[in-house]
């Protein structure tokens, strides 16, 4: 073990500098106010929120343009509302993907760095944003599902009528 000479006591060198205890106190901070890393149990809601925001943005970009959707004939019910949702999501897509990726990077930092209550509010904000866009996606999927069910009902009804008619014709002969 070596002994740096300037660390030995009794030299005038130490007198010219602030005391080590004073220096320590200047570098110390109240633990109660120092914050702490956000637990993964909380942070994952922010991460999921950002992931949902990114996923919704990507899906919105992949969808055909809103006028094409509404004029496609698939949407028998609430087609206009679907095109509004798609148009809104398409406008939001690029900023949402950018923000989502940036926030994910920040989450990775917050996982380790100590931070206070404000960063917790920020994670909650992320989760809310994810929830809002997720809800938008859910409404869109619900409308798609509703129209799909309508199509299934119509096709089934047509098939029933056709098969019934054929059966009636065959039995008449």
């Amino acid at each position: 073990m070596s002994f740096p000479p300037n660390r030995l006591a009794g030299s005038g060198h130490r007198q010219q500098h602030p005391s080590p205890l004073g220096a320590f106190l200047r570098s110390a901070t109240s633990h109660q106010r120092a914050g702490g890393p956000i637990p993964i149990d909380v942070l994952r809601y922010g991460i999921i929120g950002s992931a949902v925001v990114i996923l919704t943005g990507v899906v919105a970009l992949l969808l055909p343009p809103a006028p094409d959707l509404s004029s496609s004939g698939f949407f028998l019910l609430l087609g206009r509302q679907v095109s509004w949702i798609v148009e809104f999501a398409k406008h939001l897509a690029v900023p949402a993907i950018g923000c989502g990726l940036a926030l994910l990077c920040l989450d990775l930092y917050l996982m380790r760095a100590p931070s206070g209550r404000y960063s917790r509010a920020f994670v909650v904000g992320q989760a809310v944003a994810g929830g809002a866009l997720g809800a938008l996606g859910a409404v869109f999927l619900a409308l798609v599902a509703l129209n799909m069910v309508l199509w299934v009902v119509i096709v089934t009804a047509i098939l029933v009528v056709v098969v019934g008619t054929l059966a009636a014709l065959l039995s008449g002969e």
């Binding site: 006591a9 009794g10 005391s19 004073g22 570098s27 901070t29 702490g36 859910a138």
Partner: protein, 204 residues
Amino acid sequence: MTVTEVLPVVRPSAEVQRVLEHRTSSLVLSPARERGIELRPVGLTSLPDREVVVRTEHGTWLFADHVRDPTARRRLGWRRGRIPVPDEPLAQLHALHDAGVRPDLVWLGHELPGTWKEGDSVPVPTPRALRESDERLARRLRLTTRILARGAALTVAAGAALPAAALLPVAALGAGLDPIVLGGVCHPATPVVSWTLLAQWDWE
């Protein structure tokens, strides 16, 4: 467990001990006593020039100069590299400084988890108030997510609901690994330090 049980103690000559006792008394013990604070010398060691890891039957301890303390925490913004100390021992350390206590060295000792190995960080638990608010927040988020997921599942029969991830319990961080703050007084000629316990606490 006492600090002397984990510090690598040396036994220098009687003369060195006498000088160190005198210096410790004048620089640390007497000023503190005048302020009504009784400090306890904990032993003599050779002057360390770098952090020391001591493994004993009482656990693993890491001793480091406060300028290289591994718990100095980085955070967002301008408050960088600060060493977290609970309010009560921090107030005592300020009182000691105000009383004129002037050790040559200030080192911190950190009790380490049994699984600690070289290169690992030294754990500092999140403050209790923040920990409790984190637990409340996690509970609320869990509940909200469950309600939203049920709502989405009802809305989209195809199952477009958000996947509910498996819930992990909040990490129990208040492990109670005790840090200590030691004031060291050096011998003027030989590399021997007399240590005094300035503060000690358990993380809540």
